[in-house]
């Protein structure tokens, strides 16, 4: 398969801070990839390197096999950045037409506006759009050139639940045409819902690169929560198999690889519990676990 984007042992240093410490990722045509990580993990820097907005301090970035700043490569990319602006007095349709002119084979403006769900706002000036509508406008600008790949840097930040659902639907609809989608997010359910591949980044390194299901399966943890008959403290759990313990009076939340053994020991020690829940760890917990492992490795 054709490689759309490639980072080869890319490092990026801003002054004394190394934001990206040797990331190698290759993304092929038609992939739906989420770059997942906490704030400050280096996701945006990775996207900036892929797009040629930043130059790697060492290593390489390639877009369609070319330098990312090459206009021929850029002409196949649509971009939604976290920080960007458009002339506020221009109307939605005018802005879409403007951005269409930058691309060799743009899609009809109506289609881009439709994909973004902005039909009713097409004649409205950008400065009069709500936050959610503005995000949708940026999405329309990213897809209007009919690019083969779109980069979405934290596309749903600041959207409410309903707006986010609609937005993810727009992305899915564009992806269904065989497009490559690369998005960054720290909303973990978003990566789970949308991506076929999740690249977990933390502190400038890739700590996992797999399908959402694989990442979940790698983490053996179960989420256990219950209410005890008396107030507990961390000391009560000494010697029991657990992680991420949260005790709030009688209420206990923890992760455990062996919930059965843990509960058996608690009963044996004479605690009585109710409201017991044992569920599989979600991606958020999987992610916490992965970054913690990476931390241990670097410490060791």
């Amino acid at each position: 398969m054709e490689k759309v984007v490639e980072l080869i042992d890319a490092h990026k240093r801003y002054g004394s801070v190394e934001a990206v410490k040797g990331v190698s990722v290759a993304i092929e045509h038609g992939e739906l990839v989420a770059m997942l990580g906490p704030n400050g993990a280096g996701k945006t820097t990775c996207i900036s390197l892929m797009l040629g907005l930043r130059k790697p301090s060492s290593g390489q970035a390639k877009l369609f096999g070319l330098a990312p700043t090459d206009r021929r490569a850029r002409s196949r990319c649509g971009v939604m950045l976290q920080e960007s602006g458009v002339p506020g007095t221009l109307k939605v349709k005018e802005l879409v037409d403007l951005f269409r002119s930058y691309y060799p084979n743009p899609m009809p403006a109506e289609r881009a506006i439709g994909l973004a769900g902005l039909e009713e706002q097409a004649g409205r000036q950008a400065q009069k759009l709500s936050g959610g509508q503005l995000q949708r406008l940026y999405f329309a600008l990213a897809v209007c050139g009919n690019p083969q790949v779109i980069f979405l840097d934290e596309p749903t930040v600041g959207l409410d639940v309903e707006a986010r659902r609609a937005f993810l639907e727009s992305i899915r609809s564009f992806a269904s045409e065989g497009k490559t989608i690369i998005l960054t997010t720290h909303y973990l359910e978003e990566a789970d819902q949308l991506a076929e591949r999740v690249v977990v980044i933390d502190r400038g390194v890739v700590v996992a690169d797999a399908s959402p299901a694989e990442i979940k399966s790698r983490v053996l943890g179960r989420r256990v929560s219950f209410t005890a008959d008396r107030s507990l403290s961390d000391a009560d759990f000494q010697g029991l198999p657990h992680q991420n313990l949260e005790v709030e009076g009688n209420r206990v939340r923890l992760l455990s690889n062996a919930p059965e053994a843990l509960l058996r020991d608690l009963f044996r020690r004479g605690y009585d519990i109710r409201d017991l829940q044992v569920v599989g760890a979600d991606l958020e917990e999987a992610f916490l676990d992965l970054t913690r492992h990476a931390e241990k490795e670097t410490v060791a």
């Binding site: 054709e2 797009l51 007095t89 221009l90 002119s101």
Partner: protein, 262 residues
Amino acid sequence: MSATTTFQVAPVPRMLWAETRAKLLSRLRSPAFSVLSIVLPTMFFALFYGIFSGQAGSHAAEFGKYILATYGTYAVANVMVFNFGIGIANERGQKQDLLQRATPLPGWVATLAQVIFSLVFALLALIVLYAYAFTVGGVRLDPGALVGFTLKLLLGSFPMMGLGMAIGYSTSANAAPAVTNLIYLPMSFISGIFIPLSQLPSGIQTVGKLLPLYHYSQLPLETVGQNTESLGTAALWLIGWTVVLFALGLRFYRMDASKKFS
């Protein structure tokens, strides 16, 4: 595979047209800015002409042509300095440059669009000035002279674009209007735009004759036969100032870009 392996780019004329049109539309919808650029020079002309033409007596016709040249200079330079200065500072302030940088639009096409848009805008300001000067003001200029006069005003404005660029890439959106006025208004005065240089103290005259705006005003003044230096000398000065101010603008642009894009 052929569809994905052939690289294509958008044609430059289409981008240039769309970009220029967008800038014009956007500016025309900011009435405060448009009115200031288009109407203010004519208001100044009306004020000065109204006050002083009576005193000019038998020289009233020549006086009218003189201030048409100086206020024409003011009008075009005003559009260039403000469009580039405040325009670029605003684009940076609103982070329009970040998104644009990620699109396939080449930077030079965006700059060329800004030049074309500013020239069109300056022409609008001149048309308003001419309309007033030729009807209410009763200034007379034959059509041939008017064409040369207008072309000189447009072509001589390049140093002012460079000055605007230098301001736009070095100041914040908040500071740009103040900085632009602080540089442009005193420069206009010292260059003999508002009051003829010969009426000003000799110290100011010496400084004024070094400034780009003074040499710029010599171009239209030559058309009406009231220049104080030759067209060739003025042109050389303007070329020199264009090089200096564009180099400064480019330097500030690079400093700004290296912060965001290196």
